[in-house]
């Protein structure tokens, strides 16, 4: 079988929210006054950049020769055999430079920052992958980079903290609130409010005020563009389901995007079920949350009866976040996408089984998507075809998994 040559392409401008940044009832721009002009200017600059052939050519060049795209679509035959016999394909974002899908967005936005004349990037990070990707893009383009990271996450992702510093970024620990991703975003926004004149806020997921949910999804749309062409070439038809983990939701939006108009393809997002679906012990927004306004956007979030954001828990730092990107809230409300959750135990089991069955150690975030495959494969049976976004590699998690299992592998 010959595979047609696939070049990294994006889906720009075909599925925009309305002019105020709303996907149905979700999205918008709920920001302090000082940032309104900044998000307006960013929107204008982004919409202009995505139309500019030179900008797109430079992004494609970087994705091809620096990131290593296209990433393979690997048929995981042993995982499939263990999952009711369905054909399971892994979109190997773990094989990108820096080891996760985050680099697709970080390079796109860093190019935009450079185009807008910023000299300094601000980023937040949970698992550290977006921080590493931002630090990498900053090094490549000669920009200054400050990364905010919860101190809780710094402890469980120590390797990535070191990588960011090695790349020349300044990592600032955040110990307010729960000392995780949401607190890092609060602190990054506080920085941006003060430094808006010369700094660019490089948000890492499909969250926050317009245009971030649109822009991040479009920079990640390369994943779905490639995966759709690859599955048609390799399996001869569209898949029955596309599965991705959902923290803020950028890897999921990136792969869902190409399949949204393919009505026969189920889009399945997998949230973090943590220890249990009770307040403070999970991060499954659609299982235990409600609509609200948080960190710039109207979406689903985990909150108490008084509107305060509740604590979250997940073994995976990248999914340990109280709100979900607004486009997911919209896809859920229309029924176009469905959302499940996998708990810590299932994710750890999937982490190990993918290593044993396929020789691939996934990020704990991606392991949540893999955890959903067994049940789905049994449901679909041997005729079924599943594409899973393997959003990142698990090197960063090896130490914390070893600690959790007492060193038993």
């Amino acid at each position: 079988m010959t595979t047609p040559e696939i070049v990294p392409t994006h889906n720009f401008g075909t599925r925009d929210p309305d002019a105020r940044g709303y996907f149905g009832a979700f999205g918008g721009r709920f920001v302090p006054e000082t940032l309104v002009s900044a998000v307006e200017a960013l929107t204008e600059a982004y919409l202009e950049a995505r139309r500019d052939p030179a900008f797109r050519a430079e992004l494609t060049r970087l994705l091809t020769h620096y990131v290593g795209r296209p990433t393979p679509l690997w048929e995981a035959a042993r995982l499939g055999a263990a999952s009711g016999g369905a054909r399971v394909f892994l979109k190997r974002e773990d094989l990108t430079h820096t080891g996760a899908h985050k680099i697709n967005n970080a390079l796109g936005q860093a190019l935009l920052a450079q185009r807008m004349g910023a000299r300094r990037l601000i980023a937040e990070t949970g698992a550290g992958q977006h921080g590493v990707a931002s630090a990498t893009a900053a090094a490549l383009l000669g920009l200054e980079c400050v990364v905010y990271m919860g101190t809780e996450d710094m402890a469980r992702q120590a390797l990535n903290v070191f990588r960011m510093r090695l790349l020349g970024a300044e990592v600032r620990g955040v110990d307010s609130g729960s000392a995780t991703l949401k607190d890092a975003i609060n602190e990054a926004m506080r920085d941006w409010v003060a430094s808006v004149a010369d700094s660019y806020y490089l948000l890492g997921s499909a969250l926050g005020p317009h245009p971030y949910p649109l822009m991040v999804r479009e920079f990640q749309s390369v994943i779905g563009q490639e995966a759709r062409a690859q599955i048609l070439a390799q399996a001869g038809r569209l898949p029955d389901a596309v599965v991705a983990s959902v923290g803020g939701g950028s890897n999921a939006m990136g792969i869902f995007d190409a399949f949204v108009d393919d009505a026969s393809v189920r889009l399945i997002g997998v949230e973090a079920g943590g220890e249990a679906i009770t307040i403070g012990r999970h991060a499954a927004r659609f299982a235990g949350g409600a609509e609200g306004v948080f960190q710039g956007t109207r979406t689903w979030l985990l909150q108490d009866d008084d509107g305060n954001v509740t604590a979250t828990h997940s073994v995976s730092a990248g999914l340990d976040y109280a709100a979900v990107g607004p486009e997911h809230a919209w896809l859920q409300s229309t029924g176009r996408a469905e959302y499940a959750w996998a708990d810590d135990r299932a994710a750890l089991a999937a982490f190990e089984s993918l290593a044993r069955l396929e020789g691939i150690v996934p990020a704990l975030e991606s392991a949540h998507a893999v955890a959903h495959v067994a049940a789905l494969g049994r449901e679909l049976g041997p005729e079924g075809i599943i594409v899973v976004n393997l959003s990142g590699r698990g090197d960063k998690d090896v130490q914390s998994v070893a600690n959790l299992t007492g060193g038993r592998a």
């Binding site: 709920f30 302090p32 975003i185």
Partner: protein
């Protein structure tokens, strides 16, 4: 004419610089917060802003973040802040403005929130992360209940948006005198004067300038360009330092009186 309109008309008639005092409601707890608010009123604040504690105060600096944490730990909620305001309304002369993030209000339901705020005797509402573009529904509910919608202006706000805020807002406009989060600074920023000049060129609506002020000379300086100065973090810091002091109210009253000297 709303109570806030009356206050600012009087300030202009008397050619006096107003003092808008911000406290985090429920800090350090609800009973002592009541004492603090009464003391701020006795000290002569012209408007009192009650900050509603929220779990993720992304526009606030460390002093108000800590106050928020104390208030939340003491069980303060939006509903209890409204009860607190209702219990004080008869004794407090100054207009009361609620200063909140959007989500607690959204969670309560905006029409229900507006009704309860009016019943509690609240005069105006400022929602920090609800710029005019997102405020349509809230403003309609506030107007229906006779509450003034207070909008923020910043050094980065365009002339068109200053006009829109002046047109849609009520009571007064709150000018953020410098970029950044809340917190006391040594000096009045140059950006305060230029923002005030830009606002004055567009509207006659009363203007209060805030962010960074902590001393009577700051208040006097602001008076050259605006109707009133807002003092927030510095006052919250006084509350924090004297939280365990039996004379908390006296300390707060003396500080507010000093600001007006």
């Amino acid at each position: 004419m709303s109570r806030l309109d009356g206050t600012f008309a009087r300030l202009r008639a008397e050619q006096r610089t107003g003092l808008v005092a911000y406290v985090t409601a429920g800090d350090p707890d609800l009973p002592r917060s009541a004492e603090v608010i009464r003391a701020v009123d006795r000290g002569g604040a012209d408007v009192i802003e009650l900050g509603v504690p929220f779990s993720d105060p992304l526009a606030d600096g460390p002093v108000i973040q800590r106050a928020t944490e104390r208030a939340l730990a003491a069980g303060t909620t939006l509903a209890r802040v409204l009860d607190l305001a209702a219990s004080l309304r008869a004794d407090v002369a100054a207009p009361l403005v609620l200063f909140t993030y959007a989500n607690p209000m959204v969670r309560m339901g905006i029409p229900a929130f507006a009704r309860r705020a009016r019943e509690a005797g609240i005069d105006g509402v400022l929602v920090l992360d609800l710029p005019p573009e997102e405020a349509g529904e809230a403003r309609a509910s506030f107007v229906a209940e006779g509450l003034d919608t207070i909008f923020l202006l910043s050094p980065t706000t365009s002339v068109e948006r200053i006009r829109r805020a002046a047109e849609l807002g009520g009571g007064f406009l709150y000018g953020i005198s410098r970029l950044g989060v809340t917190g006391a600074r040594a000096d009045v920023a140059d950006s305060a004067e230029s923002l005030a000049a830009r606002v004055r060129a567009e509207t006659t609506r009363p203007l209060a300038l805030g962010f960074g002020f902590s001393r009577p000379e700051h208040v006097r300086a602001v008076g050259r360009w605006a109707d009133a100065a807002v003092v927030g973090s510095a006052l919250v810091q006084v509350v924090a330092e004297h939280a365990g002091n039996p004379d908390l109210g006296g300390e707060v009253e003396r500080y507010v009186r000093w600001l007006r000297s």
